[in-house]
């Protein structure tokens, strides 16, 4: 029994780090552009399909496909932002921006449905079935690699935010946009870059998931939904909170999946969510 609990914890921590990673992108985009990006998880799905095609057609290992998925998502997201979101944002139509992101979600998911149908697809890469042991606990290698990678990227993001001028601009806009204008910061350019990068990092997470997750057009939906849950759980706009909230939800999902009957697997996560909303509506980590 103890081993099972230990297994749940480890699994939950690693999955949770991925949920947290997705949420970090959403937090950054929200704080800098005020957009709640409903399409966020869908980009993850797009990256997974890019990885899938590259594997099936060209025998390219999923981990290598990051080199294509990341720039592809970056450019596509930048284009979408520049053409559609930015004009809306400059006129202050924040709600419309959110609606556009919904439209984006539908376009992305339905395009995938059109091209790939709703069939489950999977990629059997060299590492797909590999695992290793820590004591009695089984660790799936691809999951562990994903965990390490998102951890490293989170550290890199933290470094950029706190040690570079660009990061300073990002934090300035998220704390006081009008003041940031007075510093001579090019608000529009920073917002574009944050949106594009926030989505491009899905181009890193997607291929990481491909060796061991089933690919469907709706694969991203769960991540988006949990992303919002974690966003609110942590307190809208809190970056560290997004990571920790991700871990909490990851562990809850893991225990739910193991100990609850099938359809109720997500109940523990939502119970935690509702409890936090009841007793600490500003989120676990408060306003910022």
């Amino acid at each position: 029994m103890l081993i099972l609990i230990g297994q749940c914890l480890i699994q939950g921590l690693m999955m949770g780090s991925i949920f947290g990673f997705v949420t970090i992108g959403m937090v950054l985009i929200y704080r800098v552009t005020k957009l709640l990006n409903f399409s966020h998880g869908a980009w993850l799905m797009v990256a997974m399909y890019i990885s899938y095609i590259l594997f099936v057609k060209f025998r390219i290992e999923p981990y290598l496909s990051v080199l294509i998925a990341f720039p592809a998502l970056f450019l596509l997201a930048a284009l979408v932002y520049y053409v559609v979101m930015r004009p809306l944002g400059m006129k202050g139509h924040i709600i419309m921006m959110c609606q556009v992101s919904l439209g984006l979600l539908w376009i992305l998911e339905n395009s995938a449905l059109l091209v790939f149908k709703a069939d489950y697809r999977s990629v059997q890469s060299v590492l797909s079935n590999s695992k290793f042991y820590i004591g009695p606990l089984i660790i799936k290698t691809p999951l562990f690699i994903a965990f390490l990678t998102v951890g490293i990227i989170a550290i890199v993001l933290g470094w950029v935010l706190y040690k570079t001028d660009f990061g300073l601009s990002v934090r300035a806009i998220s704390q006081h946009e009008e003041a940031a204008k007075l510093m001579g910061i090019n608000i529009g350019r920073v917002q574009l870059l944050v949106f594009a990068i926030g989505i491009a990092i899905m181009g890193i997470a997607g291929p990481l998931l491909v060796p061991w997750i089933v690919i469907t057009p709706h694969a991203g939906a769960e991540f988006t939904f949990l992303g919002f849950v974690i966003l609110i759980l942590a307190g809208l706009g809190n970056l560290n909170g997004a990571l920790i909230g991700g871990l909490i939800i990851g562990i809850a999902e893991s225990f739910g999946g193991t100990f609850m009957p099938g359809a109720l697997a997500s109940v523990p996560a939502y119970v935690i969510f509702i409890l936090v909303l009841c007793f600490r509506p500003q989120g676990l980590f408060g306003a910022r």
């Binding site: 001028d165 300073l168 601009s169 934090r171 300035a172 704390q175 006081h176 009008e178 003041a179 204008k181 007075l182 510093m183 001579g184 910061i185 090019n186 910022r288």
Partner: protein, 234 residues
Amino acid sequence: MLRVEGINAGYFQTRILREVSIEIGEREIVALVGANGAGKSTLVKVLSGLIKPTSGKIMLNGEEVTGASPKKMVNRGVILVPEGRWLFPLMTTLENLFIGGINPRSRPSREATLRMVFEIFPVLWERRNQEAGTLSGGQQQMLAIGRGLMAKPILLALDEPSLGLGPLLVAEIFRVMKQLREQGVTILLVEQNIRQSLAISDHGYVIENGAVVLHGTGSELLEDERTKRAYLGM
């Protein structure tokens, strides 16, 4: 150096400024005085690019900058220290100063400018790693001015720098303004503290209900009955 002609501006449907024209010469200290709501803050926001005028012209050193973006004005050296300071609350004193110098004009010499700002405001050096939101009112005001100085202004607009500060600090800030003028910075001072601001200025404008009603040297305005009337709204 700066010539403003016939500016009309406002927010949404409301017109705040009516045909405002002012002139600021190099190395001058120019005062903008008037009652609350007269339009002084609106005018400096127009000058800094935050608000676009609906009509009128702004010329900076012969170049037309009407309707320029805040980024462009900052790159030209027009720096606003706004009313309410607008510090970045979760950044440290040092980070606030650092970001003040982020624009391409001031970025190359940022380290040197930082040292200069710490010399002018030693208390900022003591509190350099403290979050800006936790500083006292006076320290925040000094940080706001220091942050403005980091951008290497040729024209520094200060909106109500003495607001909420005790007399010692106010005197300190006015002393700093004189020091800056010695160093070649032109200053536009928006103040409710009429006596001290008119005393320090080369000339000033009295604004009432969005229009310039009076213009003269500091002492002329101080003696004029109409100043008192416009200021007190009588």
